[in-house]
């Protein structure tokens, strides 16, 4: 996460929007659309990215009067985006009707090779990222929304516990415990999927 100080330009634009200049919001949208998209692409299914991106900016617009400039606008917007992702997964898990995807024999063989590879670097170069992504999606699909978000932020993206706690609005202890448990669950899922 960026810890940059509040940008004066952003604060001025926010003040203009709050004062009633609705069109000034477009500056913020154009400036941070890529940042939000990158964030959403990592957390959401492809077909949900555009809709959620819209939702993030609308939420941000509505919440602008509460922006105090204590953190940078980018950081504030990231919090809204991460919480929108979490909300998406919570709703998705609650209303899930379709059966979850399962691993094929090809995936299982790939997984066995990946784990037993002596040099992970050489394996990276040779392996098919498509399989890796499918296995990761398969495993993440079996975690709860909260475990999924914590695992993605801490384990896969490398955010610190404090940054993750700020993004999700949770306590550090909660993030710490969830991070440990979700990682354990992930390894259990993956190791159980390995043949033999």
């Amino acid at each position: 996460m960026d810890n940059d100080s509040p940008t004066p330009g952003d604060t001025e634009i926010v003040e203009r929007v709050v004062a009633g200049d609705v069109h000034a919001f477009e500056h913020l949208l154009r400036k941070y659309q890529n940042h939000v998209l990158i964030l959403l692409k990592k957390h959401l299914p492809y077909d949900q990215i555009e809709e959620t991106a819209q939702d993030v900016f609308i939420r941000a617009y509505r919440a602008l009067p509460t922006f105090r400039g204590e953190s940078s606008f980018k950081q504030w917007l990231s919090t809204i985006a991460v919480r929108a992702c979490y909300d998406f997964w919570r709703k998705h898990y609650q209303s899930r009707e379709l059966p979850m995807s399962s691993l094929t024999e090809k995936h299982r063989v790939w997984l066995e090779e990946a784990i037993s590879a002596q040099s992970s670097q050489s394996f990276h170069e040779q392996s098919l990222q498509k399989e890796a992504r499918e296995i990761l999606d398969w495993a993440l699909d079996r975690l709860s929304a909260a475990d999924r978000m914590v695992l993605e932020l801490v384990y896969l993206e490398g955010y610190s516990l404090r940054e993750t706690a700020d993004l999700l609005g949770w306590s550090i202890t909660n993030v710490k415990v969830r991070s440990f448990r979700s990682r354990k669950k992930l390894y259990k899922l993956i190791t159980q999927a390995i043949p033999g």
């Binding site: 929007v17 692409k41 819209q54 784990i115 590879a117």
Partner: protein, 107 residues
Amino acid sequence: MNPPKTEHEALQAILKKAYRQKENVAVGDQWQQEVMRRVRNLGALETTPSFPEMLEQLVWQLAPVTCLLIFGLTVLFAVSDFTSGYEVFQLLMNGAEELTFAQFVGL
């Protein structure tokens, strides 16, 4: 089967790399226009606080006064000769025939 730490690390590196691949997905550029259309429809932002917000502010402003009042009443009851409802009830039940109204109210 539990993979040892080095295998954990290898697997983590592979999963991280796979995870980052998602950044390369192409997204359309129509959604920004839709955001601005919705923002224009929403109109200018309300800066005056809503009724629940005003109520919340009022509650917090009155909180110190309420605390002082509670403290004051507690002290008052502690130092005065307070007769509980139960004791009044007992008094009525035990000697109701001898008790006049004047005695009851303490005159």
